[in-house]
Symmetry: C2
Subunit: 581 residues, 2 copies
């Protein structure tokens, strides 16, 4: 491609609403252009990257035996009513009525439609397993779209759906997709980690997120450097930090802690380690009658160590909290604790509450907790002596770096990541709801065992940039760069020699199948270099009159500190070697 035949449009400054580096750089490099909140035009430069990402995904999905089709953007509500998602999903599901007043949705995913296809098309176990995928525009009406393509409303996703005859076969389909995803992210040239994730109501252990490692990532991912353990923070198991409970060493004492409503402040005031304090969190669960009216409310007290954080996903797995919970109101807290938040604790309750202690809290002795009286805490609290044993002991906290790995093979470390892919075993959730069955060997109808497998195509652009950039701009991996090589001729309009050499090199590289850009815009060298560094083209060759007089050109990789002088005759071989590496 010659630059004058393409569309290059860079900005010196990013717009004010761009908060993260990938958003800023994509705007500055002319990859995207905002049309509305969370809605972007993919400009020519950005679309080239998208198409390369899609190409790699498509090749590997096909290689894995998945079959591509294309399901509509606008989908009839009826199917979404069969699974209940039309009503259950919140306002992030964009609903629309057609001219006849019929309900439709703009697809955020396609479980219902693909399950409908399967129940019509896959009639016998002989047709299984089958995996259908498409790469299609999606819409999710995010409450607060931001970060450019990282949390947009309209985006491109690859979503695949597998159909199997039984759980064992579904496991093989899952593993097959897991391996395909590893191939895909390897080929994209991204540093990533596949981490175990929560399976929610489906259960089982078949859910993995593919996370691109980036300091700016929204997700915390947990791994063990000494083993292959890796999970997202929602799932990563926290073992008790204390092997057993020590004997009580102190007497219970009510201590004034005026104005100190956080564990940090209390520990500092008392000169105790934060790990000696216990944090109290009050939840509530409502029992509803058939009219959706609350008939009974249960209040819960969850206890984690002062230096730990509550993990709401783990809390949500506790019997009694599974059906959904909320944080208690100030009124409920006052009724049960006789005290305002900040000084709450498990000792001396006004009304009974269910007490759930984190595994580590349950092993603590002589701990500090709120005294249920404003400006007072207890010190020297001990289970069994000062208060009954907790109603329940459970893993309800986030792990922290240094925690023991659940596989017993070392200590956990934590990285930040950006979720770009997800493989998930669905079981019969959708097939049962939609009565999607096949006939097994005995001629009996059985619901499909399903899996779903998503990759956020447009999000990958943001993640790749968050991981690969410097102060000058983007640094694309070779495989997904908008152009692999930029040829920058200096003074092309003045020098026939430069012009001829640039054209010849351009044609040579094109003939070798290299995706090369010839910058024939006639820009000054500084502006030209700044553009291609901002845009992130990974390889650059500079031709100048002076250099060519000595038969030389300059090569610079986007991550190289400085340029390398090469004989003009060697540059193609040099590039080929670099591109292979």
């Amino acid at each position: 491609m010659k630059a004058t035949q393409f569309f290059v449009s860079t900005l010196k400054e990013a717009p004010a609403d761009a908060e993260v580096v990938s958003h800023k750089l994509m705007m500055r490099a002319g990859m995207i252009k905002r049309l509305g909140a969370g809605i972007y035009n993919y400009m020519p430069m950005g679309l080239r990257v998208i198409r390369k990402v899609e190409g790699i995904i498509r090749e590997e999905m096909n290689r894995a035996g998945a079959v591509e089709l294309l399901m509509p953007v606008v989908q009839p509500a009826e199917l979404w009513q069969e699974t209940g998602r039309f009503d259950k999903m919140g306002p992030e599901l964009l609903r629309v009525k057609d001219r006849h007043g019929r309900d439709f949705i703009i697809q955020p995913t396609s479980e219902e439609v693909v399950t409908d296809i399967a129940r019509l098309e896959l009639r016998s176990y002989k047709q299984l397993p089958k995996n259908f995928y498409h790469i299609q525009t999606k819409f999710r009406d995010e409450r607060r779209p931001r970060f450019g393509v990282m949390r947009g409303r309209e985006f491109t996703m690859k979503d695949a759906y597998s159909f199997d005859r039984d759980v064992e076969s579904a496991g093989r389909s899952y593993e097959n997709m897991f391996q395909a995803y590893c191939q895909i992210f390897d080929r994209l040239g991204l540093e990533y980690r596949a981490v175990a994730a929560d399976t929610g109501a489906i259960g089982g252990d078949r859910s993995h997120e593919f996370q691109v490692i980036a300091e700016t990532g929204e997700d915390a991912i947990v791994y063990c450097p000494d083993s292959d353990y890796a999970a997202n923070i929602e799932l990563a198991e926290a073992l008790p930090l204390l092997a057993s409970r020590a004997a009580a060493g102190q007497a219970l004492a009510k201590t004034p802690t005026p104005g100190k409503s956080t564990c940090e402040d209390v520990a500092a005031l008392l000169g105790l380690p934060l790990s000696q304090t216990v944090k109290s969190l009050v939840l509530a669960t409502d029992e509803l009658n058939e009219h959706g009216e609350v008939v009974k409310t249960q209040v819960w007290l969850l206890l984690v160590r002062g230096d730990h954080e509550l993990n709401e996903v783990k809390a949500g797995k506790i019997e009694g909290l599974k059906g959904g919970f909320r944080f208690a109101t100030v009124g409920e807290i006052d009724a049960h604790f006789g005290c305002k938040p900040g000084y709450l604790g498990p000792i001396g309750l006004k009304q009974p509450v269910k007490i759930v202690a984190d595994r580590t809290v349950a092993q603590m002795a002589d701990f500090v907790c709120g005294a249920n009286e404003a400006d007072f805490h207890f010190t020297g609290a001990n289970w069994g002596r000062d208060l009954p044993e907790p109603d329940l002991v459970a893993d309800i906290r986030n792990v922290v770096a240094g925690d023991p790995s659940p596989d017993g093979k070392g200590q956990l470390a934590i990285q930040r990541g950006i979720e770009v892919g997800h493989v998930f075993y669905l079981g019969t959730k959708y097939s049962a709801a939609m009565n999607a069955t096949f006939l097994d060997e005995t001629g009996k109808p059985k619901p499909f065992e399903m899996g779903c497998y998503g990759i956020g195509v447009t999000r990958i652009l943001g993640a790749a940039i968050e991981q690969n950039h410097d102060e000058r701009g983007i640094i694309w991996p070779d495989a997904i760069a908008p152009f692999t090589v930029a040829i920058c001729p200096i003074g092309m309009d003045r020098s026939d020699e430069v012009k001829a050499a640039a054209q010849q090199l351009y044609e040579q590289l094109q003939a070798l199948g290299v995706d090369v850009l010839l910058d024939d815009r006639g820009e000054r060298p500084g502006a030209m270099f700044a553009d291609w560094e901002l845009i992130g083209v990974p390889h650059r060759v500079v031709l100048s009159d002076r250099g060519l007089k000595e038969g030389q050109v300059e090569y610079q990789g986007r991550r190289d500190a400085e340029a390398t002088k090469l004989a003009l005759a060697d540059v193609v071989a040099h590039l080929q070697a670099r591109l292979k590496a």
Copy 2:
């Protein structure tokens, strides 16, 4: 591709709602699957065709210097309000509100968005001309979606938009796209015709439709076999059929024509040629005040020869009718003609109406027309003698086969066609409405001269099938067939020799880049042949144990009456020759 790794799903019978052959065959061949009215899943077999069509379009658009980007499906209403289309467009524009109650539309085209991009990005005449295109999902909420992909609601369209500095340059951009479209439809392997079309309010002569020739087409296209004249019926000019008006030969006579309310019936009753009769059509135009209330109504009488049809597009170009017209009500007709429809005519009006005569009618003498009295017609009517000359003489009829070509080079012929592409000069319609300007050489802002260029990607599938099918199924042109060659081994499970030969041929063709399908499903020969004939694979090679014993295979082109025996060793060369042809 091996059939077992793909998804082949054919039907013996088409569903009852499929009216046209392309819809029936696409359903039966498993190319599409209905999801809702006018909304289809593109199944794996159909998607392969779509991707090939898109690939050819993309290559030729890029070759013509157009630059690909991707504009969103969900677009903010604000831009559509700038041009007034948000309000002006009827219910075919799908409107939707997001969670905040803001208005959006699901794009039917992207003039507004691309013009917004241009006004932000194209600041100087030096950046012009520029042509942006995308291939994207569209939605039009058709009142009566039908004919499968031919008139669907959700469909894929390639739409391109050119931006030029002046009319002359816009003309070159238009011509460039016209030539690119010819390349595209040539490469698609379709028989087509580019016909001049109406430019409506824009004016000028730069609008062409690309019509795929098919007997079942909805459009009538007019051409001259002896010249390059071609236009759609809306535009094709009708010259007067009579060089000059003959002298009156008969006296005016009121003749009873009881119950004969059509020209056909009257001509038959009177034993006169239909071409001696004149048909009366009554239109009305309303003048509105600022509140949208009708303050004045003008009634019009349009006269065409009995064997001709009124052309409403031509009528709409008449001064006075340009602003829009409607057919008159029975009440209005009675007030002006004192008669019910069926016996109307231009002689003896109760109240004055504007009379517009078609060019041919204006030259007629001794003609037959309604007497404005039920069950009576006049014969021997003559302009100037029995009634005043018409207020206006204009071309207001459709041409018919045999009419003189407007270029004077022969007689017109009429074919049926399916519109699959349209190139259109827009002028400054959108750029002026949206204040989209660039700075010219003198530094003054000027609105862009624009053009738009659409191709109905998914519609091309339907059009190709309407043109290319037989009683056994679809006959795809090589370039867009889902597979170019089908290898059908007979008894592959019983014969290692058949299996090995099929596999070897498959690999040989793959290595040559041929898009080959190996049918390894183990179906009986009849079922296998029927499937690939229905699906429309253009080339088939059959391997059998018996044939291989003699070193022979059978080749059959999809249009060949019978199979040709070939030496196994020659089949690759034979296929290569056929594919090149």
